[in-house]
Amino acid sequence: MKKTGAQIICECLIAEGVDVMFGFPGGALLPFYDTLPQYSQIRHILTRHEQGAAHAADGYARATGKVGVCMATSGPGATNLVTGIANAYLDSVPMIALTGQVARHFIGKDAFQEIDITGITLPITKHSYVAMDAPSLAATFKEAFYIARSGRPGPVLIDLPKDVMTDQAEFVYPEKLDLPGYKVPRQGHPTQLKNAAKLINEAKQPLIVAGRGVIISGASEELKDLAEKAQIPVITTLLGIGCFPGGHILNYGMAGMHGTGYANKALENCDLLIAIGMRFDDRMTGKVSAFAPKAKIIHIDLDPAEIGKNVPAHVPIVGDVGAVLQMMQKMIESNSHIDWIQQLEEWRKQHPLLDIHDSEGLLPQHIIHELYEATQGDAIVVTGVGQHQMWAAQHYTCHEPGSFISSGGLGTMGFGLPAAMGAKVGRPDKTVWLVDGDGSLQMTIQELATLVQDNIAVKMAILNNGYLGMVRQWQDLFYKKNYVATPISCPDFIKVADAYSIPGLTVTKREEVSPAIEQAMAYDGPFLINFMIEPEENVFPMVPPGAANIEFIEQPKKEVSSWRRRSIQ
C-alpha cells in the first residue's frame, strides 16, 4: 500500500528509534502535523521558539547518546534553527534538523516563507538534503541518521518541500546504505600505535588530556584502564568533563583558560601529552607556541582533519578512541610515575581551586558546592554560557559521561534552559539541574512555558549578578573596568516563573542555599531558584587571552569586596 510523504517521514523516524522530537509547526509543515497523530509512538514537544527546539534536541542527544530530532517550518522557522544547528556542529552532537519548505514548483521563486536553508546551513551541517520526491524519502532518512550518528557525529538537515509530504510512494525502509564517499575510520594505524606505546613506556612525566571524543566513543572505561595501568594523570577539556570520574585520584580537572592551576602546570611540564578525542581549541591551548612546550604529542582522534590542524602531533592516530585505547592498553607497560604524581599533588596544594575568598556576599562557588552536596554528583548539570558555566565546570564534580552538558565550541548564551529540557526528556530518571546566568536565561526564557505544558521537571539555579558577567570580567581585567553594555536588568524571575505556574525562591544568604536546593529537589516539577550572587565576583584561575597557559591569574588573595549590589528591577 502506498503512503504519503508525511507518513513515510513518520515511519522513518520510528524505524530509527525516534520516540521524541522537538518542533514548531507552520504552513509548510501542515501535512506532517496532520499526519503525526497517526503515530502515537512519537512524542512531539512544542517549544516556544525554534532555537529552543534545536537546543533541546542537542541536550537530549548529549544526555542519551541518541540522535536528537528537531523540526521547524520553512523560512523564519528554519532560520531560527541556525544557531542550534551551529552549536551541535561545533560540539559534534548527533542531530537531525527537519525543515519545511515551500512546494517544489515554488522553489526559487522567492515564495512566501521560502528560504534557501540548505545553502544557509552548508558550513554548519555535516551533510544536508533537499528531499525532492517521495520515493527517495526513506533512503534519505536512512542515510541522514547514519551520517548524523556515525564517525564524528554532527547535525544533518533534511529540507522537506510541502508537496513531497502529500505525494504518495511505496514505503520500504532500505537495509543497506549507499555511501561510497563516506569513510568512518575505526582502528588506528598499527605502526603509529607502536610508536605511541613506545613513547608512553619511555615517558617520565606523561599526561592525558581527554575530550568529548571519549564520551562520544563510549570509551570512559578504556580511558580509565589505560590511565590506571600506566598511572598517567588525566586532565580534561570543558566538554570532556565526566569522561573520567571526577573523584578519581588521577583526575586533575579541567585545563585551559579557566582550568585549574595544577592542570595548566602539568601541561607546562609534561614530557608526553596524550590527547584523546579533543581538538586543541584555543580556549584549551592558550598561546599555541607555548602550549605543552616540553612535550611530545600523541593525538588520537576520529577525524583526520583535526590532526595537525592547530597543534602538530608527533604521533597521529586516526581511529575510534575506544578501539585505539583498547589496543594501546595491551601494548603499554604498567608504571607508577611516583615522582611526577607527587609533583602534581604538590601543585594541587599550591594552587587549590577551592581557594574561595571570604565574602559577606553569596558566592557562586559555594552554591555549586552545595548543589554537588545535595545531588551527590548524581545529577545531570546543564549550563548556559558565561561565568556561571565556568563555576559549574570548576566546582561541580561529575562522575559519569553525559552528566555535564554545556555549549563549548559555539559558546551559545541561551543554550541552557532548552538543553536542560531536552536532557530531562531524554533521562527522566535523572535529576537535571540547569545552572544558568541571568543574561543567558533571558535569551531563551520563553521555554519555561514548554516545561509547564509538557511537565518537564528541570530544576533551575540562576546565578544572578545583574551583569553579563563574563564580558564584564574581561572589561574589568583588560578594559580598565569600562563596563559598557554589561549591566543588565532582569525581571523578577520569581514573578516570571509564577506567571508560568513554576514555583521559585530567591536566595540572598549563604545559609539559605542548602534549604532552597532541598526544597527544589523535593518538589515534583520544575522549580526555579534565583540566587542573588556577589555582582562583581570573577572566575579564577584565568589565562589572559593570547597568553600562555602557565601565565594563569589566580584569585587575588585579599580582594576588596566591592559589595555594592546594583539596583536591578
Binding site: 545553502g119 558550513p123 564517499g181 603509529q192 583526520p304 595537525g308 602531533a313 597521529p316
Partner: protein, 180 residues
Amino acid sequence: MATTKHTIVAIVHDRPGVLNRMVSLFRRRNFNIDSIAVGHSEVPHLSRVTVIVNGTTAMVEQVRKQLDKLIDVVKIFDITGEKLTSRELALIKVKATSSTRSEILEVADIFRANIVDVASDTLTIEITGDEDKIDSMLKLLQGFGVREIARTGRVAMVRGSLGVMRRVEKPLKTRVRKQS
C-alpha cells in the same frame, strides 16, 4: 612558510550542490582558488574536479582533509610533485586585419594552435597546453589586440598506468613541531 601551487584532484558524486559545498569550504578556510575544472569521469555519475590552489603544505593538507569529509567527495588526492600531464585549453579572439592576418596565423602555427573561427576582422584561436605555453602565446597576441579570452583552468593526470580510482592513500605524515 612558503606557498606553492597545489594540484588537487577530487572524484565527486554528480549531484546538485556538490560544487557549492566544495567551493564553500575553500571560502570558509580562507583559500584562494587559482582555477577549478569540472567534468565527467570514467565512472558514470561521478565527476572529476581539478582544483589549483596556492598555499603552504600544511594549509593545503588541511583543506584536502576537510574536503575529504564531504559526503559527496568519494576520493581526493593532492597530486602536487608527482609526474603529471596537465593541460589547459584557451579560446582567444584576436583582432585581425588583412595586413596582420598572416602574421597571426604564423604565431598560431608556432604554438600548434588551431583557428576555429574566422570573421571579417577577427580570428578565434584554440590552444591547448600548460599555462606557460598559453601565457606566452597570449603575450605575442597582445600586440594585435585581444578581444576576448576564455580559459578552462588546468586538468591534470598522473603519468603511468594506474588510474586515480585505484590509488591508495598515503598514510598521514608526521610533522614534528618546533620545540621552543
